[in-house]
């Protein structure tokens, strides 16, 4: 035991001696969470729109004013002919063009009907669709104002209540995601590298002939990183509470427990990676190339899992990050306890045991 503690001490010294890595290790998560919490949003704001007004009358001017008054759009230019649409779309800034038909006001009075084309640059389907919907909503509102003297017909009005995130802040979506990415990659990457580093530099052999058992070598190497990751997780949670005003509706204790569990899962994955790679380079490429995109794309961090094709929904189940994101959102935003999260928790525990079991099987006591 004393030897083992000595070994852990050595590992700590090893990490703390490298000031630059430490700085990166703690500075990075803070910088990332600040950037993303403030900057990244999938809301639609300030979309540049151009107007092609064939009519230029009182009604079209009023509609244009209504649209430019909305925070979603800024009308950046007026064009005069149809062929200009293609030109400005190719430049890339303008995302939509409103095309008013000739004699708009006149048609509205005479036929009670007039037409607007909403032409969108649909290379980005999300923006195109949202712009189209928002313009439509503004026009419907305007139409209602014009029709206010007409007797009302039957009307069912939905009273919508947005629960768990009433202001629809996208930071509520991104903070748990960024926290997951950081913990996952930092923990998995660090362990896999620190173990393969010993192999590559030849010092692993020295460790293996020492009286410390192989299992103790692994635990000794992983232990300091558990400690570092816990500090990282704490910093991230504090930042999200105090700077981004994320609520913690549920138990802080449970959040701590689940974070430690997830850190251990990621570390176990790191150990597994280190057993299958011979060089640091391979280990890093596997953890970066193999983990980064799947964690970003398949965890429900940015894209809703329920909209994915079925095979991908099934694959997403093997991504530990998916379960952790469900857990964090559950505790922080919904305020639920273990009675709602036991399934996700068990899955993470199961994955951890599986990775460790597999590593033990693959771990060779003798090096070739």
């Amino acid at each position: 035991m004393k030897r083992f503690i000595g070994f852990i001490k050595k590992e700590f010294y090893h990490i703390f001696r490298d000031k630059r890595s430490l700085f990166i290790l703690f500075g990075m998560p803070i910088a990332q969470i600040m950037l993303f919490g403030f900057a990244i949003t999938n809301e639609i704001n300030n979309v540049e729109i151009a107007v092609l007004d064939h009519s230029k009358d009182a009604t079209t001017t009023e509609i244009i004013n209504k649209i430019s008054a909305s925070k979603y759009f800024s009308i950046s230019q007026f064009i005069n002919k149809e062929s200009d649409i293609e030109t400005i779309f190719k430049k890339g800034k303008v995302k939509a063009v409103l095309n008013f038909e000739k004699g708009f006001s006149k048609n509205l009075i005479k036929d009670h009907k007039a037409t607007i084309q909403i032409i969108t640059d649909a290379t980005d389907p999300n923006t195109a669709n949202t712009v189209s919907n928002y313009v439509n909503a503004i026009l419907q509102q305007y139409q209602k104002e014009l029709n206010k003297d007409i007797a009302i017909t039957y009307q069912i009005v939905p009273q919508t209540r947005m629960v768990y995130n009433p202001e629809l802040k996208s930071v509520y979506m991104f903070v748990p995601g960024v926290m997951t990415i950081i913990l996952m990659l930092v923990s998995a990457m660090m362990t896999s590298i620190s173990i393969t580093r010993e192999k590559e530099l030849g010092t692993m052999e020295i460790l293996l002939v020492s009286p410390i058992k192989p299992i103790q070598v692994i635990i000794g190497k992983v232990f300091p990183y558990i400690f570092l990751s816990i500090i990282n997780a704490t910093v991230i949670v504090l930042l999200s509470i105090f700077i981004f005003k994320m609520p913690v509706q549920g138990s802080l204790f449970l959040l701590g427990f689940e974070s430690v569990l997830f850190i251990i899962t990621a570390l176990a994955l790191g150990i597994l990676i280190s057993t299958i790679s011979a060089t640091q380079q391979t280990a890093m490429m596997i953890s970066l190339m193999g983990l980064m995109l799947p964690v970003i794309l398949l965890s429900g961090f940015i894209f809703p899992i329920s909209s994915m094709p079925l095979p991908l929904q099934i694959i997403s189940n093997i991504i530990p990050a998916k379960w952790f994101i469900i857990i964090i959102k559950g505790i922080m935003l919904k305020g639920v306890g273990l009675q709602y999260l036991w399934k996700e928790t068990l899955i993470l525990i199961g994955m951890t045991i599986f990775y460790i079991g597999l590593s033990v099987k693959k771990y060779k006591i003798r090096l070739e």
């Binding site: 630059r20 290790l25 910088a31 403030f38 900057a39 990244i40 949003t41 300030n46 979309v47 509609i63 779309f89 190719k90 890339g92 995302k95 009907k113 037409t115 607007i116 909403i118 969108t120 290379t123 389907p125 999300n126 949202t130 189209s132 026009l139 139409q143 017909t153 039957y154 069912i156 009005v157 009273q159 919508t160 209540r161 947005m162 768990y164 995130n165 009433p166 996208s170 509520y172 979506m173 580093r197 060089t279 380079q281 391979t282 890093m284 490429m285 970066l288 190339m289 980064m292 995109l293 794309l297 940015i302 894209f303 329920s306 909209s307 991908l312 469900i326 959102k329 639920v336 709602y340």
Partner: protein
């Protein structure tokens, strides 16, 4: 010249000798392009829908039927009580909950107006917004249909004014997400591979100690750097080619613009990335440090590139930051050239900025590279 060729040869041999790396360089990215492009969609569908019907009349059932018929909402659950319904929402089994009040039909007939409880799980704010639009649309359509069914006296005397909107979706009529995402993800893969490989390469020799051996040879600094980086440039261009072919064959992504233009841009772009990689290599002592820094910038570059979330929606200061993000320009150029057929003049701003970036990065990298320790 001959020296450079030898170094290049040596580097290629070294890359291809490492059998473990080959699949990571070529197979993993391709695999990810093919699989993950399917995951990147903001489309909101398969919404988990539940309802509590306190009215049990023809009208309430007709309304629920409308939701049932819609393609967006698929799992319909009938909850007998509000308690069970909110528990299901906490568990994440339902995302949208419709509550039809008692005496819904009677009050509607009497007062011509009635309200309806809708609860939406808004943790994903953007999805919640879209779900709200869907619900409103279905209810509005229902309003129009009950006009006909429940209206006893016709008041057709006054015809309401209607502004008709015709939405037209250019360049991507079916609003297919893959058309948007595949070129972007290809950008990511090319960038990540070239950055990680080049960022780790020189520092690896430093760590193992072989760099000193090279330093005592008569190889010039510039020859060494060019020889080191050229293979990665080739790998990057190779990945782009394979990716473009797959994009066409598997996803049928259009290639409206000029292919040579795309290659011209990419050839300059990879120089930027290689410059960054070399710069990182110079400032770190171990592969671990190099990787952390590369990873740090990659995550920031990816998430702030406009690839997944629009740049226009970011606050002004963040938009200014994206000006320094090379991935941003590559994503823009790929989408513009491939999907819209933008020409040389249209992408000139991006091309110029990237070229300046490439020059500055490589100058810095070469300047900071010291042959002697």
């Amino acid at each position: 010249m001959k020296t450079i060729l030898y170094i290049i040869q040596k580097e290629f041999k070294q890359i291809f000798r490492n059998k473990g790396m080959l699949p990571i360089i070529f197979v993993l990215p391709i695999f990810q392009l093919v699989i993950l492009s399917n995951a990147a969609t903001f489309e909101v569908k398969n919404i988990k829908f539940g309802y509590i019907d306190n009215d049990h009349t023809a009208t309430s059932r007709a309304l629920i039927e409308k939701f049932n018929a819609s393609t967006y909402f698929n799992v319909l659950t009938d909850f007998p009580s509000e308690v069970l319904a909110s528990a299901a929402m906490l568990k994440g089994e339902v995302d949208v909950l419709l509550e039809i009040p008692h005496y819904f039909e009677r009050d509607l007939q009497k007062e011509k107006q009635n309200s309806l409880g809708v609860t939406i799980n808004a943790i994903d704010g953007a999805a919640a917004g879209v779900e709200n639009v869907y619900v409103t649309q279905i209810v509005q359509r229902f309003n129009q249909s009950i006009k006909v069914d429940l209206l006893q006296v016709s008041d057709k005397q006054i015809q309401p004014i209607a502004i008709e909107t015709i939405p037209l979706f250019w360049y991507n009529k079916t609003l297919n997400y893959k058309t948007f995402m595949v070129p972007g993800i290809l950008v990511l893969l090319v960038t990540m591979i070239t950055l990680f490989l080049s960022g780790m390469n020189i520092v690896r020799e430093k760590e193992i100690g072989t760099l000193e051996q090279i330093n005592v040879t008569p190889i010039k600094k510039s020859q060494f750097i060019i020889g080191k980086l050229f293979p990665f440039w080739v790998i990057g261009m190779g990945l782009l080619t394979v990716g473009l072919i797959l994009a066409k064959v598997i996803f049928n992504i259009p290639m409206i613009g000029s292919l040579p233009l795309l290659y011209l841009y990419t050839s300059i772009y990879i120089l930027v990335i290689l410059g960054i990689g070399l710069f990182i290599s110079n400032f770190t002592d171990t592969q671990q440090q190099a990787m952390f820094i590369a990873w740090f910038f990659t995550v920031i570059f990816i998430l702030m590139s406009g690839l997944f979330t629009p740049i226009e929606s970011m606050p002004k200061w963040a938009q200014t930051l994206t000006e320094f993000n090379p991935i941003r320009y590559f994503v823009e150029v790929m989408r513009m050239v491939m999907l819209k057929g933008s020409g040389f003049k249209d992408i000139l701003p991006q091309l110029l900025k990237t070229a300046i970036y490439a020059f500055v990065m490589n100058a810095l990298a070469v300047w900071s590279y010291k042959k002697t320790n």
